[in-house]
Subunit: 484 residues, 2 copies
């Protein structure tokens, strides 16, 4: 196969982008200052299994790897080259590449269309056409791929051995970094994450289509400011949405946000009302901030079941039960049905103290947590109830005296969740709260609980009751539309 | 003065409740299990300066203090007695008290009107009238008072040496506990906190009036489910609101919440629409969840200035600038005016990199933080701008290599905030974000930053941009109504 024929064929083979056999880093440096995007260092720490080619005329070696003066000198075809050099040098670097030698180029650097240097961006795009590579960016971070063992942040080696089913597409590079940082110790198991930047060539539509057909991806999260071909986007959302949930967070929906987006990624945004209506029609789930996006994606991972709206909530403290009722009843598709008289009687037998509430929310009082096994069984058997949620206060662990016993308590609670999940056909969620903030011990208690819940695949959610209600309303809505 | 005359006179002297000279704990025990409300232990740890009388017929001594068999046997008048014994024993305990001996009784125990034992609650109230004491509760936690050195949770000794100006009134005992836990390491300096429970006798109206005239209190937060005399409540809100801000969170605003509130504190709630309108008319600031309440109260502490709505925001990362614009423009009283051409030019001179944005939000790029002093001065001088906000990412500290240097960086940043605040007449806020969650180092970085900001009295806010925008809209609205 000639290089040119290969150039035609490879157009849509994004496997080579996410699982590159060879990776060139232009602008490689042996100095690995924190905060600098040293892709060569990142990939070595991630034990990247393909061929890694640092490129920089200043060095002969980078981290014991031979370093090449330019891309043309690399003695191999290159699946993925990342350019982390000033924008103005990019055309000259790419001009020297033989056609067909490179499949994908990521231009990390900013300083193109988003600051009105559209001619420079056009020049790069023209080179992509001439040389037969596809271009990601410019003005982006690159790609994280668990299977490909590539990443774009110094922490990514920490999660590369952990398989996951979450795909993320972020137009913003900063958000791509933050999405992984926020999710990596918070139960989000990443499969592939891509930062698209100015979308000069490769667009969100192509990547969404690819992630849609990637069977290792079970849920897709999107942050986008600029959809170039909106009609096609909606079509792909609808097609992919039949197979897996998609959460879309659109930046620049307001006039003020739009102006900022033009500066950020050179976006020219369309009509907001049309966009929002189209998302609804396409069956996409929408988010309007980073935390909402992450909470939705975490609970949409295919290892978890989707909730139905008739929920039973276990929540210690009368104030909590009142507020949960208030905030859940803002959503017509959520309800906390009063438990049946039989269920209430059984609960009363298990909870003989006076200071309990057995209607729903169930306030199990002081000793309730120790009997969670039985309480879950009783409430789960109530035909009115479709889903269960248990408020777990991290602060509760401060009542337990040694760290050893706290670990055992978390283990015991997790086992009760797991046992219930294995037997019952109704999904159950942990609602995590940490009241004492900014305290070394309580922060550690939270980490203890989150780590154990993640290890045992117990779905959890944090945030205010208001945020929790909004997330569950969206999940129930999604489940309903999937059924119909 | 006879005891009876004293009984008449003392009705509204709540100083004896919040700064009692003598405190009796009925149900005292030398066993101080975690999770148990051992008020005797709490007050000893808080170095309570008055006379402390444990009462329990089972013991002769509790923590080296003589323990009395009943309240009548205590050889002193008692400003405040707290009953932490089963509900059914309360009448008998109080029947033995000589009239006029006790000024205030807190009944901690639940199991009264909220579970339909209204006769029992009536009996207690009748005894209060006969014996001349005022009753707090039943079904409540009691009182925290920094000046009085009394509290109701084992952690309260940690903050009792720290003066503050925040008053809190919570009908829910659980929320009273959580409000202090959530605020104590998060910049909220408590003055007095009271948990009111069923409000059998002493009501929110009396306490709000008292806190209104207490010159050491600068802001009042309220969680209430049940306002008995709504007209009077609105009147007091309006009167007190002229002197200090009041934040009201009302539980049981919905039908579902109301039903739960009836079980929680025996509340019979009124008309929601009327209540909400009345709050607006009375000039109270409203919150609908715990975190919102706490964020508002923190920023309303009198040590901080109130924001005006034309804001400049410093925020690294293009995605952040877009999202801040989107979420702030949901509120008509917030705006991010484009900085003047002169201001933009001066900023460009300070930020020669390409990847910056100088319009507003200002994206200072990689080196911007180091020049924050100059940037603040330039932007603060722009006549369009009334308030400044700087996004401080906790994660930023992970770019710095030693803990010593991280401490220095936080010190340097705090000093820049402080210097600006001292010179400028425009308020400035730090918007704290922690992207990497549940990680020991990043949790420590957050604590480092929060502790330093609190030490230097730098106003900060956390949460999603959506929550931040809502809080600032409410603060600006409050400032506007104060002016008019």
């Amino acid at each position: 196969m000639t290089s040119e024929a290969r150039g035609q064929e490879r157009r849509t083979d994004f496997n080579a982008l996410f699982k590159p056999q060879s990776f060139a880093h232009v602008g490689a440096s042996p100095r690995s200052a924190p905060g600098r995007f040293n892709y060569t260092a990142f990939l070595r720490n991630m034990k990247y299994a393909g061929k890694l080619y640092p490129v920089n005329p200043k060095y002969e070696e980078v981290f014991d790897l031979p370093c090449y003066p330019n891309l043309g000198a690399v003695p191999d075809e290159i699946d993925l080259a990342i350019l982390a050099v000033p924008a103005v040098h990019c055309p000259e670097i790419l001009r020297g590449v033989p056609p067909g030698k490179i499949r994908f180029v990521v231009i990390h650097t900013s300083g193109f269309g988003e600051i009105d240097k559209r001619a420079l961006e056009g020049e790069i795009l023209q080179l992509a056409r001439e040389k037969g590579f596809r271009l990601i960016g410019p003005n982006c971070m690159g790609i994280y791929s668990q299977q490909g063992r590539i990443g774009f942040w110094r922490d990514h080696w920490e999660i590369v051995d952990r398989p996951g089913s979450v795909g993320f597409i972020s137009q913003s590079g900063g958000h791509a970094v933050n999405i992984i940082l926020a999710g990596m110790d918070a139960g989000i198991r990443f499969n592939k994450v891509i930062s698209l930047g100015n979308q000069s060539d490769v667009s969100i539509n192509e990547i969404l289509e690819y992630m849609g057909s990637d069977e290792t991806i079970g849920v897709v999260g999107i942050y986008v400011e600029d959809v170039r071909d909106g009609r096609r986007f909606v079509q792909i959302l609808r097609e992919v949405g039949r197979r897996k949930p998609i959460v879309v967070w659109k930046g620049g929906l307001t006039a003020a946000g739009k102006a900022a987006a033009a500066t950020h990624t050179g976006s020219i945004a369309g009509n907001d009302a049309v966009f929002t209506a189209a998302m609804r029609q396409a069956g996409a789930i929408t988010a309007d901030n980073l935390y909402m996006l992450l909470r939705l994606v975490r609970l949409l991972q295919p290892e978890f079941r989707l909730p139905a709206g008739r929920m039973a909530v276990f929540s210690p403290g009368g104030g909590n039960t009142v507020n949960i009722c208030d905030l859940f009843s803002a959503y017509p598709n959520l309800s906390l049905p009063r438990l049946s008289p039989e269920t209430q009687e059984k609960l009363k037998a298990l909870l003989p103290e006076e200071n309990v509430d057995v209607k729903n929310p169930v306030d199990p009082g002081a000793v309730g947590t120790l009997r969670l096994d039985q309480l879950l069984k009783v409430v789960g058997a109530d035909p009115q109830i479709e889903s269960l949620m248990v408020l777990m206060s991290v602060d509760y662990l401060s009542n337990i005296e040694t760290e050893e016993n706290r670990v055992l308590a978390v283990e015991m609670i997790s086992n009760m969740f797991s046992r219930y999940s294995q037997k019952a056909d109704k999904p159950i969620y942990a609602l995590l709260q940490q009241h004492r903030q900014n305290h070394e011990d309580f922060d550690r208690y939270r980490r203890l609980m989150v780590a154990k819940f993640d290890e045992k695949h117990i779905p959890w959610i944090d945030g205010s009751f208001k945020e929790v209600a909004e997330v569950f309303s969206k999940l129930v809505q999604y489940k309903t539309q999937m059924r119909s």
